[in-house]
């Protein structure tokens, strides 16, 4: 039987998203150590670089999926009644989707 809330998929999503974010954090830290953007113009230009903004967008997608799996696990551990579970999970999903739309817009407006 297929279990929508269990199995290998969330386990794998959690690890792949973690590794991707780890690589992006390393990339950003390395850049900031070598050549920190010193002004608004420099920071905006750096973020507007297509390579950087696409990598940032993928990282934020990874972040929101990672947050979904993690918060879902916490919810399933502590919220037992079905109705409350559905309500909490729906709230989390809505918030994460909204956050995703917001950050997409932020990055879209900064494109060079």
């Amino acid at each position: 039987m297929r279990r929508p809330l269990g199995g290998l998929t969330p386990w794998l999503v959690q690890r792949l998203s973690a590794v991707f974010m780890l690589a992006f954090i390393g990339f950003v830290l390395a850049n900031f150590l070598v050549d920190p953007p010193a002004s608004y113009e420099a920071w905006r230009a750096w973020m507007g670089n297509p390579g950087v903004s696409v990598a940032a967008l993928l990282s934020f997608a990874a972040l929101l999926m990672h947050a979904w799996v993690g918060l879902r696990d916490v919810t399933l551990d502590y919220v037992k009644p079905l109705a409350a579970r559905v309500a909490v999970l729906a709230l989390i999903a809505t918030a994460l989707l909204g956050a995703g739309a917001w950050v997409f817009r932020i990055l879209w407006l900064v494109r060079a």
């Binding site: 973690a18 590794v19 608004y40 113009e41 905006r44 972040l63 947050a67 993690g70 956050a99 950050v103």
Partner: protein, 127 residues
Amino acid sequence: MSRRAPARPVFFKLNQIQMPVGALTSIVHRVTGVILAIGIPFCFYAMHLSLDSAQSYERLTRMASNGLFKFALIAFIWALSHHLLAGVRHMLMDIGIGSHLSDARRSAWTVNVGGVAMALMAAGVVL
């Protein structure tokens, strides 16, 4: 007639429970995960301010000079550091590195202390 499940030992005296160091690493990994998730909208808002215009960028730098902002930032960096280190420890164990008890204890200490050390370094930069 329904039979009750056999009684299991229940012991909730938190001040008397021996928490092995790995248990501390693990529960803090979970708690910091929730903290970081709550921090997402604040991070996105900061990113919006930093990129929207030169004025909003100025506003963010003014906000960042506030003591409460700095404290929250350092706490957030601690949460991120602990969560990240504990996650790396977890994935190393997935591929069989450091899953013996003595190694696991040592890496748990490394994670717990390393997260605080990274927060102190951040405090050195921020303050």
